[in-house]
Amino acid sequence: MEVNGQLALTVLMGVFLIAVAAWLARVEDWRSYTPLAGGGTVGGTAEQYVSEEKPSGVIRWLTTVDHKDIGMLYGAYALVAFAVGGLMVVLMRIELADPSMTLISNTFYNSLLTSHGITMLFLFGTPIIAAFSNYFIPLLIGADDMAFPRINAIAFWLLPPAALLIWAGFFPIPDVIPAQTAWTMYTPLSAGVGSGNQMNAGVDLMLLGLHLSGVSATMGAINFIATIFTERNEKVSWANLDIFSWTILTQSGLILFAFPLLGSAIVMLLLDRNFGTMFFSVDGGAILWQHLFWFFGHPEVYILVLPPMGIVSLVLPRFAGRRLFGFKFVVYSTLAIGVLSFGVWAHHMFATGIDPRLRASFMAVSLAIAIPSAVKTFNWITTMWNGKIRLTTPMLFCIGFVSNFIIGGVTGVFLASIPVDLVLHDTYYVVGHFHYIVMGAIAFAGFAGLYYWFPIYTGRMYQVTLGKWHFWLSMVGTNLTFFAMILLGYGGMPRRYATYLPQFATLHQVATVGALILLVGQIIFVWNFVQSWLEGREVQDGDPWDLADDDLVTAEWTWFERKLETAVTDGGEEETELATDGGQTVDDADAESADDA
């Protein structure tokens, strides 16, 4: 039996490798050889290859090393992961509408809880940021492409296998169950110790997937650092580098120091689980894991939030009709957050009984990080103050970001204080706090970016009214869900449980209603996104947001304008005026009624 299995696997692997070789031979024939990184060309002048066309169909997407295509791949991937992670949590919230175990089993709830966290942080959060940075950083800094285009492609293609491994436990594979370790993977549970079922291969697969996603993020980070340092156009200096590039540069620095550590810790855990090492099973092993994990885990929070802050800092001034107030200080605060983020990790461990003197120092740094965060917040508010505000969908999401970030941030300041933390630790208060940041802020900034740049990457305009429905449902849903969680935490409801005491039922039901409102909002988003992409009005103007009126045009729109100008005309006449969602020259009422039809 065992031998047969091995034989089958060998044959399968052999056939697969031969298929790969055959496919490569075909593709290689079709290609011409032009070294990309080497700079020179083989047997000919560079001009011969300038008009190189991309292959068509699926092969184009499988072989592309163009930063814009890879950005699109990242975006598509992230949105699929967002849908998966979102549907997981909808199931969980429906289960939580009732205090007892009704819809799904407690163990399945634990599995969903684990996968929801990992999916949203590693398969949605990081990739959606990479989508924007891949597409726009080279355009913003006037680079031809990323510094290492092929590494860029490798970094993306590591992600689909990572997702399959992370979700492997949910697939019908015999003897494999989903991990139930929560995204923090605390030992000894995750080391498979004891009588539980976490020795299962599903946990190993999840760890491998997580490791892969870390490798991918690290590759991307190295690429962005190299690109921003070396590939800038000569007109782009450090003094006039845009805010989004600054945040991506800082984020990449954080990734460079944080993710390899996660990778190492995961390898140690895998060795503990499979090869009998004892990194985490000796005395102090559990606390060692927490130190290693959170030394990565807390910077990870800033890895996820800094680029969205950059998007908001870029988009919000465009619709306030002014330049970003205190630009320099926004950059300084970004760098300050980047540095401080490595000095706060043990605030996740205040309740573990570590040395009180250590706790105090971590409390001090954690409180201090509120200062640069507040600098940003006040700068956003001051940018809008007395500005010519245009409440377009991306602007609404930016304002929603600021609003939610304030609630998420202030609740975090309380948690940074040791005595408060000891009361609220492991309650829903923590869950509410960080969801205000990850959903209310990070996802909102993601949506702001998706709407703001929609004309660039689709060549079309989204439907204005649907965009506003999406925003308001998301805003109401987010605040309903996560404010209820904060109140639940004050009431003492512990996190991570599939069942609870009846006294918490009302607030849990409020949170569930909020989650369902969020679901409706996201369905509208998907509809709007897909339909507008396929059938939306084509953008004819390189400046659909009328940024030129306030002298706020950035490089990516200049690029877009050039692209439109050089496009081959098809001779068709434009039928209707473009709906620019807040643009001055457009008859909004007409556009909206047309979109609604």
């Binding site: 292959p55 499988l62 814009k68």
Partner: protein
């Protein structure tokens, strides 16, 4: 509109190798972690071959056979470390060694037969 020259469209924008490098890593990891010999060998072959392919394509190496050999030496050292030291993960070590040997064989075959054929086009 898509055919319009953008900033980056003037450069080579396609390479077949990244997908296979990205597939080779998880396949070999799975094989080595769970001790599945064929997966480990196949994954390492896929990974090693694609690395050489991408290095050749981008002009970082000129000789396929030398790049393959260099990679095989690294694999050999790693495999020997697994198989013949106190780590004593013998099957996994042999899998890596087998991959190294097959990689060199593949490189030689490519050098002797495939490359010449292609040059006749």
């Amino acid at each position: 509109m898509d055919e319009a020259p953008g900033l980056s469209d003037q450069y080579r924008t396609a390479s077949p190798w990244p997908v296979f490098i990205a597939l080779g890593i998880p396949i070999s990891e799975l094989g080595l972690l769970f001790g599945l010999f064929p997966l480990a060998v196949g994954g390492l072959l896929l990974f090693g071959g694609s690395v050489v392919g991408i290095l050749k394509e981008s002009g970082y190496v000129t000789s396929t056979i030398r790049a393959v050999t260099a990679l095989a030496v690294i694999f050999l050292a790693f495999g020997a470390g697994l198989a013949f030291t106190d780590i004593a993960l013998v099957t996994r070590g042999y899998a890596v060694i087998a991959a190294a040997i097959l990689l060199v064989v593949g490189g030689v075959v490519f050098e002797l037969f495939v490359r010449e054929q292609r040059q006749t086009f």
